[in-house]
C-alpha cells in the first residue's frame, strides 16, 4: 500500500493561505477550557492504578500482627539487581523465622519480580510513588520501615 501524498493546492487556496489558516482554526478551538488536560499534581492527587508497582511493603497478618514472611529468600533470588537481603534464624522447632529484611530502594527498578516470586502475600509493591529522598543512605529500607510502609512527605502546594 503506497501512501498518498496530498495533491498540490490550487493557486487560490495558496494565495489565501488556506493550509495555514486550517491549522490556526484547530489550535484556536482547543483553547476552550474543557479541552484542558493538565493535572495539578501536588494539589490534586493522581489516581494510581491498583497494580501500580511502587514502594515495597512487608505485610503483617492483620489478625495476629505477625509477619507473613517465611524467610524463604525467593525474592532475593528473583531480584535482577540483587537489592534484597533476607536474614533469618532457626526457631526452636527448626523453622525459619525472619530477623532482618533489607531492601535497597536506590537500586530497585520496580520490575515486580520479587512480588511474583513471593509465595505468601507478604512482599508487595504498593501504590506509593513519592520516593524522593535527600540522601542515598535513607534509600536502604530496613524491616521496620518496610512493615510500616512509606510515609511520603505530603506537599500541600
Amino acid at each position: 500500500m503506497k501512501v498518498v501524498r496530498p495533491e498540490a493546492m490550487s493557486i487560490l487556496k495558496k494565495i489565501f493561505l488556506v493550509d495555514l489558516i486550517k491549522g490556526l482554526l484547530l489550535t484556536f478551538s482547543y483553547q476552550r477550557p474543557s479541552a484542558n488536560y493538565t493535572e495539578q499534581y501536588p494539589k490534586v492527587r493522581p489516581k494510581v492504578s491498583e497494580r501500580f508497582r511502587g514502594a515495597p511493603r512487608l505485610n503483617n497478618d492483620p489478625v495476629t500482627g505477625e509477619t507473613l514472611c517465611i524467610a524463604c529468600n525467593l525474592c532475593a533470588l528473583a531480584c535482577p539487581e540483587y537489592c534484597i537481603e533476607v536474614g533469618w534464624e532457626r526457631t526452636e522447632e527448626g523453622k525459619k523465622a525472619l530477623t532482618t529484611f533489607t531492601f535497597d530502594l536506590s537500586r530497585c527498578m520496580f520490575c515486580g519480580l520479587c512480588e511474583d516470586a513471593c509465595p505468601t502475600p507478604c512482599l508487595e509493591l504498593t501504590q506509593d510513588f513519592e520516593l524522593a529522598l535527600y540522601g542515598r543512605k535513607d534509600m536502604k529500607w530496613d524491616r521496620q520501615k518496610l512493615e510500616e510502609g512509606n510515609q511520603p512527605i505530603v506537599y500541600t502546594r
Binding site: M1, V3, D19, K22, V48, E50, A78, P80, L125
Partner: protein, 382 residues
C-alpha cells in the same frame, strides 16, 4: 564511517576548494535540544551547509548485553525495557518470543492476543512520541502536546494492566503474568474509537502546511538501494519503497490473524517517512480494534518451569519494533543464564544512514533528519 554513497559533495570543484577555509566544525550534542538524547553529531559546516557529519555515540552505554550474560533468562527481561524505553513492550515481546522459540513452547492464544494489543498500542505511543518530537524539532510545538495527550491514554492502559507506564516489564517468558483487568476491553475500545480523528488533527496541522512541506519534502532522501545497503529497517526502509514488514513476512505472535496494510513510500524523503508513520498509526489502530473484539479465553501462560533452561544452541528471532527490525540472537549453553544475548537494535543501524542523508543539506535539515530517523539513544548505546 568514511564511505560516501548517494548524495555527496564533490570536493574537487573549484568552488568547494575556494571555500574550504571557511569550514567550521560544530559539535551538535551531546547536550542539544534536538538530538533526542545524548547523541553527538560533529558537523563540518560551510556557512549553514553541511559538508560532513560524524556521529559519536556511546554516552549511554550500560552494557546491556553483558548484563544479560550474568542474569537468568527471566531476570533479564526488565533490563531490556531500558533499551528502547519508548517501546518497552516490543523489546519485551522480542526477547520472550526468542526464548520461547528455544524452549519450543508457545504462548497460549489469549496471551498472544493480549501481546498483539499491547504491542500495537505501544507502537502507536512510540510513533506519537516520534511525531511530537519531530514536529517540535521543526518548530511546530503544539503537535507535541497533542501527541502526548493521546500517548497518556495509552500509558494509562499500560499502568492499569501491568502497574508501570514506561518500563513496563509486561510479558514473561511463556505468556503473561497479569490477567486482564476489568474494563480493559472498554478502555482499549474507547481509545481505538477516538484515535483516528486525533490523527486527522495532526494531519490538519502538518500534512498540507506549506512550511511543513518545505521543511520535509526532498530532505534527507534515502533511495531504495542505499536503504537496503545500509541495513535501514522499519518505517525508514518502507518510506524508501521496500515493502517489508516482519509482521507480514514472518508473522509472530498472532499477527497472521489480522488484516492490515503495510504502508510504503516512494521518494524516501522525510515527508514520506512522515506519511508512512502516520499511516502506520492508523493501521496499528486497525489491528487493535480487530484484536480487542475477539480475545480468546483460556490460560495466559504456557507451562514453563520456574527454572528456565533452554537447550544448548542458538537462535535469532526478530520482530517489527516501532523503529525497525529488533532482533535477538541468544546463545544458550544449557545453563540458567544465557551464554550470549545479542540485541540487534534498529535505531543503531538506522543511524548509520544519517551521514549520507544530511550531507549537502543545511543545519536545520540535520535536525529534521535526526528526528525522522526516530532514534532512541537508550537502544543505540545499550
Amino acid at each position: 564511517m568514511t564511505e560516501t554513497r548517494g548524495k555527496s559533495f564533490d570536493m574537487s570543484t573549484d568552488e568547494q576548494t575556494l571555500f574550504d577555509a571557511n569550514e567550521v566544525t560544530v559539535s551538535m550534542g551531546p547536550q542539544h535540544p534536538s538530538t533526542h538524547g545524548v547523541l553527538q553529531v560533529r558537523l563540518k559546516l560551510d556557512g549553514e551547509k553541511v559538508m560532513d557529519a560524524e556521529c559519536v555515540i556511546g554516552y549511554l552505554h550500560r552494557g546491556v548485553e553483558k548484563l544479560g550474560e550474568n542474569q537468568t533468562y527471566g531476570q533479564f527481561v526488565p533490563t531490556l525495557d531500558r533499551m528502547d524505553y519508548i517501546a518497552a513492550v516490543s523489546n519485551c515481546l522480542g526477547y520472550c518470543e526468542a526464548i520461547e522459540k528455544m524452549l519450543e513452547v508457545e504462548a497460549p492464544p489469549r496471551a498472544q492476543y493480549v501481546r498483539v494489543i499491547l504491542t500495537e498500542l505501544n507502537r502507536i505511543s512510540s510513533h506519537l512520541l516520534w511525531l511530537g518530537t519531530h514536529a517540535l524539532d521543526i518548530g511546530a510545538m503544539t503537535v507535541f502536546l497533542y501527541c502526548f495527550r493521546e500517548r497518556e491514554e495509552i500509558l494509562k492502559i499500560f499502568e492499569n494492566y501491568c502497574g508501570a507506564r514506561l518500563t513496563t516489564h509486561v510479558f514473561r517468558i511463556g505468556g503473561l503474568q497479569y490477567e486482564l483487568y476489568d474494563g480493559f476491553e472498554d478502555e482499549v475500545r474507547a481509545f481505538v474509537k477516538g484515535f483516528p480523528e486525533k490523527v486527522d488533527e495532526y494531519e490538519t496541522l502538518l500534512t498540507e502546511n506549506r512550511i511543513w512541506l518545505g521543511r520535509t519534502r526532498d530532505v534527507g532522501v534515502l533511495n531504495k538501494q542505499d536503504a537496503i545497503d545500509m541495513g535501514v529497517t522499519g518505517p525508514c526502509l518502507r518510506a524508501s519503497g521496500v515493502e517489508w514488514d516482519i509482521r507480514k513476512s514472518n508473522p509472530y505472535a498472532a499477527y497472521a490473524e489480522f488484516d492490515f496494510d503495510v504502508p510504503t513510500g516512494e521518494h524516501g524523503d522525510t515527508y514520506d517517512r512522515y506519511l508512512v508513520r502516520i499511516e502506520e498509526m492508523r493501521q496499528s489502530n486497525r489491528i487493535v480494534s480487530q484484536a480487542v473484539e475477539k480475545i480468546p479465553g483460556g490460560p495466559i501462560r504456557a507451562k514453563v518451569g520456574k527454572i528456565i533452561k533452554p537447550p544448548v544452541g542458538d537462535v535469532y528471532h526478530s520482530i517489527e519494533a516501532p523503529k525497525g527490525e529488533l532482533g535477538y540472537y541468544v546463545v544458550s549453553d544449557g545453563s540458567t543464564q544465557p551464554y550470549r544475548v545479542r540485541v540487534r537494535p534498529p535505531s543503531y543501524v538506522n543511524l548509520q544512514a544519517l551521514r549520507q542523508m544530511v550531507i549537502g543539506h543545511m543545519v536545520a535539515d540535520v535536525v529534521a533528519v535526526i528526528g525522522t530517523l526516530d532514534i532512541v539513544l537508550g537502544e543505540i548505546d545499550r
